[in-house]
């Protein structure tokens, strides 16, 4: 396995086409000197040649399990039940949206690990708390980082960075309730932040909606990113094109 859980995540994200240029650059630099990660990358590179891997069916969900039983039963009743249990177009695009979501967090800058974030964090105690939270975040310990970041936002209700990373940390946990809370935090970060931070928060809001299977909501936010014409504009255009192709099916 890779040298740390976070590195392992990065390799999986690279393979899943979810790493942007900066994170890819950082990972490729790392594998130059890390034999563990280098070996994991090699194994994964070989795995990608397996056509069988592409053909593995998705997990049996309760609906699909019911489907197999119905098929085994046979007959008209089965045909009717089959119709009822077939995935709807909406479910198909829900899963499709989820596949499009780009949730990989950005690389955490050193200044944030030291608790320094310009005017957002003031006072040595608040800076120390923010530093601890960001170290948890950077090491992939999102469950620990979340309560600390929540504390930061309570102490400093105008701390856009804390809201931003709180939203990202919640997104990494991957359940519906956390995704809803992530959206709230990212919205707050966008409202409080400026420039690149606000744009980045908007970008992740769009991807959070994709993770929830909410294609139309994501589409509207991606249009907003494009309209801002900032650093994320090319990424938003690309993602929007993929989303619109999915929604048109």
């Amino acid at each position: 396995m890779a040298c740390t859980p976070q590195r392992s995540e990065r390799i999986a994200e690279l393979v899943g086409r979810r790493l942007d240029a900066a994170a890819t650059s950082e990972l490729l630099e790392h594998v130059e000197s890390c034999s563990e990660c280098s070996r994991e990358l090699d194994l994964v590179a070989d795995l990608l040649h397996a056509p069988a891997l592409q053909a593995v069916p998705a997990a049996a969900t309760p609906r699909r399990f019911a489907l197999r039983r119905v098929l085994a039963a046979g007959g008209l009743a089965a045909a009717v039940l089959l119709f009822l249990f077939l995935p709807t177009r909406e479910e198909g695009s829900t899963e499709g949206c989820q596949r499009l979501a780009r949730l990989a967090p950005p690389h955490v800058a050193e200044v944030l690990l030291r608790g320094e974030s310009g005017g957002d964090v003031s006072g040595s105690q608040a800076a120390a708390r923010f530093s601890e939270a960001m170290q948890g975040f950077a090491s992939g310990d999102y469950a620990s980082a979340i309560p600390m970041l929540e504390g930061c936002t309570r102490e400093q209700p105008s701390n856009a960075l804390a809201f931003f990373y709180l939203g990202l940390a919640r997104l990494q946990l991957g359940d519906r309730e956390q995704d809803a809370l992530a959206l709230e935090a990212l919205r707050k970060a966008q409202d409080l932040g400026e420039g690149l931070l606000a744009e980045q928060a908007l970008w992740y809001r769009a991807n959070a909606h994709l993770a929830r299977g909410e294609g139309e909501a994501a589409r509207l936010l991606l249009l907003e990113v494009i309209e801002r014409d900032g650093d994320f504009e090319p990424n938003a255009r690309t993602l929007l094109a993929e989303l619109e192709a999915l929604l048109a099916r």
Binding site: E13, V15, D20, A58, A241
Partner: protein
Amino acid sequence: MGAEDQPFAVEGGAAWGSVLARYRPLALRVAAGIAAPDQAEDLVQEAARSILELARSGRARCATQAHARNYYLRAVHNHAVDALREAPSGGMRSLDEAPALEPPASGACAPESLAEEREFRALLQPSLARALAGLRTEERQAVELRYLEGLPFARMAARTGASISTLHSRVEAALQKIRVSLGKEGLRS
């Protein structure tokens, strides 16, 4: 010594051809993550062509296959970043987050042909199929979610209903079985 640490021979096209063949699917994923997915194929081919041009100018060998892999992936990364810069929309405004990577200090690698890719796949795929056939269904599923979709463990847990620690175990077990299976066939150490 692991396969990735073995000295990398550059005599003839086979050695470089095998590197490009082995890492091409990974290179496509690197490109697709940075630029538009429909550009990935072109970007990877451009990177391979760039490497071929260096070969014609007689550059030195790479010390290890891992070194050659990194060089190839860096070339793909740089081509993808360039493609983003040149996007009709105006491209990236700030490249502070995506600096171009420097080539390896010990000199470029010298490929000669990509002809071995089909041969490489023909050799590897049956072995991979056997390795994957040796996995339990849930282990194969875990590998697919992890490396086909690139999901973090938390999302895999939400998708499958299994706990994160269970999924960790499944992926680790699956990778170990694959390593052992490929190792028995002489494909990995």
